[in-house]
Symmetry: C2
Subunit: 407 residues, 2 copies
């Protein structure tokens, strides 16, 4: 949903029908139009890294600085709908986590696991969003920082803004800015990913040791389509939850109410699955960095916007990322494909479909990934490997029971 | 409009009628409800400073770090309306400046004039906001950084996000995050403001040496009321520019179209005056810090949210800030008072009314303020002085031809 104006180069191709639906809902997996505007921006000290790293704000030539901004996207609109149906304030704390994880997990993918300064930006429509909700969003951000501190992360909540913007915001927007520094010798530079490396996927479902309930696997991407494809037209009674410019036929065209059970997974309702807070992989990544020398970690990819195709934007050119042993598609994503009619190919290009983090390492370092995952209580597997592409361009090939998809 | 979750303590009192109108438009000058949520947040190394300063992100005990977030508020809705009426893309570049200045001028008020890392966060409704507008917002941010670099500021644009959020955003939101470091011995700590100090105001109008056209004096505060009080019901034809929850009687209840001349000032139309980009005082502040030892600058106050009453939140307790020689009220604010029917007392508590920066210094340092202002091409005057309040609490007293107002 969000598009970093820098290293996060976006793929342009998606099946026409899928793209037309995106366009009709005012979102896109490509956002090519904005790219012209940001082309001139520099790529930083490590042009191939997952995040843009700039010269140190403190002027130390041994360090680089990163400042990352991202948010929960339209997941907050879903939280608003859930609150109307009696879900408790934990949905708002979850939104705070969604927004924060979209930042900190990106940062950890370049090896930045030191002190982070966290700011929060909330834009609300005071007519609809009570102070209690804002309070829960702020508390949620602080609680997440406290929880990560238990795992050795120096996440410092340095405050934020709450703007009353009813003339701009339909319900509420939640974003974070996170800044940190990284020692240049410890940077994980995804440009090091080479043919012969193996790709280790870390499950986005289950319950990690730092989580107090199971995760559905959802992140904070693709929620506009997920909401409209899964939820029934019952919710057209909540006009403030969506854009009036979206054609009626694409608004809440699914079959479900938020309280309905999620097919195939007794842990979740449709609402609790869609609102499942985005998992952070921070403790796992930190553990991995303790076990394997940084030089052994050729790439860490946060499969957020772009889903399983994101890796294709990094490394190479000429890398062919073949994933032929992915996790089974979690029930939530299976339901979304069934209800949306999106092609499986596009589903893998929008959602993580089972793992939201992957490590690209030489086979000799695979054990460290598995050890870190086992410690974290997160399932991991070798989902594929890096090969040389015949085209000389990067390719991503996904081989799953649903088909073989090349991007 | 925006409410820093930290040092920016807000005053609660405003005349009931004014407050009820704020409430009816879903904005407030108080935002007491959110304060409960943020009470527990720490105030940093200098609890009385204008911005919250945290221990250095680089771990240097001689430095502090600040990360500031703020935005253009509903001024972007006005830019959208102007673009519909044929204003060129410079209105979008102006919005980028509005958002950025709301951050960097706050930072400079604690003496932070070193390297700043600037991120931008744009949330747009793709149905209404074309790529050209987003491009202008991004370019505007970079151009401002480049311009300030000419004046010795190391403003580094480190990228940002553009989110397509039609289900959340009516038109477009523009925010920035700016982080920097400051040497602790160079911090301007507003808690040093004491009785006997003089208050020097720096005009928000005219044309500074780094500006290429005159400024109307407007900042990025109070624009929700300014839009609805100044503009005519002609604009009810642009429903996406305001909240549907606002009572019809409070929507665009003024007399003007954006192209109408601003009464009393031939430089501006109503539109160009309301959209006049928020002036930055950065070069003036830097010059002032070169001329006067930091110990001589007891306080720098950015009169943004809270307008002329903002100073009352700092220094003391027991300071009485008397401003009895303010600038003449600029034509834009006079028009807004006339059309809004807001009391003059509330006008001074919402808008800067003539100066958006004030320096609080011992009389012996006054010359440095005037010298810096003259260099900058910005009018300055001694608007008042700090006295001891009888109540033991901070007070702000404004003595103007329109009346004497105590806050």
């Amino acid at each position: 949903m969000l598009d970093q104006h820098n290293n996060k180069r976006k793929r342009g191709h998606a099946m026409a029908t899928d793209r037309s639906r995106y366009a009709a809902r005012g979102v896109s997996s490509g956002k090519e139009d904005v790219h012209r505007a940001i082309e001139p921006l520099e790529r930083g000290l490590f042009p191939g890294a997952f995040c843009t790293i700039f010269p140190d704000i403190a002027g130390d030539p041994a360090f680089g600085s990163i400042q990352h901004v991202d948010g929960a996207g339209t997941k907050s609109s879903l939280a608003y709908m859930a609150s109307l149906e009696g879900f408790d304030s934990s949905v708002w704390e979850g939104i705070a986590q969604d927004s924060l994880v979209m930042n900190v997990d990106d940062l950890a993918c370049v090896g930045a696991v030191g002190r982070m300064h966290v700011s929060q930006i909330i834009g609300r429509n005071k007519f609809l969003i009570p102070a209690e909700a804002v309070e829960a969003i702020i508390i949620g951000c602080k609680r997440f920082c406290d929880k990560m501190r238990e795992f050795g992360f120096d996440l410092v909540y340095v405050g934020g803004e709450t703007a009353d913007l009813p003339d701009l915001v339909r319900t509420v927007t939640v974003d974070n800015s996170v800044s940190t520094r990284v020692r240049l010798t410890e940077v994980i530079d995804a440009s090091r990913m080479v043919p012969g490396d193996v790709i280790i996927g870390f499950s986005s479902t289950g319950q990690a040791r730092w989580e107090n309930r199971p995760n559905s696997g959802i992140g904070s991407n693709g929620l506009t389509n997920a909401r409209h494809d899964a939820l029934s037209n019952y919710y057209t009674a909540v006009p403030e939850s969506h854009s009036p410019q979206v054609p009626k036929t694409l608004v809440y065209r699914g079959d479900y109410r938020l309280g309905d059970p999620l097919p195939g997974d007794s842990h979740f309702t449709i609402g609790s699955a869609l609102l499942s807070p985005t998992r952070t992989y921070l403790p796992l990544i930190r553990r991995l960095l303790e076990l394997a020398p940084v030089g052994q970690i050729h790439g860490l990819i946060h499969c957020s916007g772009g889903g399983q195709t994101k890796i294709g934007k990094f490394g190479g050119p000429g890398n062919r990322y073949v994933k032929d042993y992915c996790f089974f598609v979690p029930p939530l994503f299976a339901m979304l494909q069934d209800r949306s009619g999106l092609s499986w190919k596009e589903m893998f290009a929008v959602y993580n479909m089972g793992h939201r983090l992957e490590a690209v390492v030489p086979e000799s370092a695979e054990w460290a990934c598995f050890a870190a995952a086992t410690w974290a209580g997160i399932e991991a597997r070798r989902v594929g490997q890096v090969e040389r592409s015949s085209s000389g361009k990067n390719e991503v090939v996904i081989v799953v029971p649903e088909g073989t998809f090349t991007y």
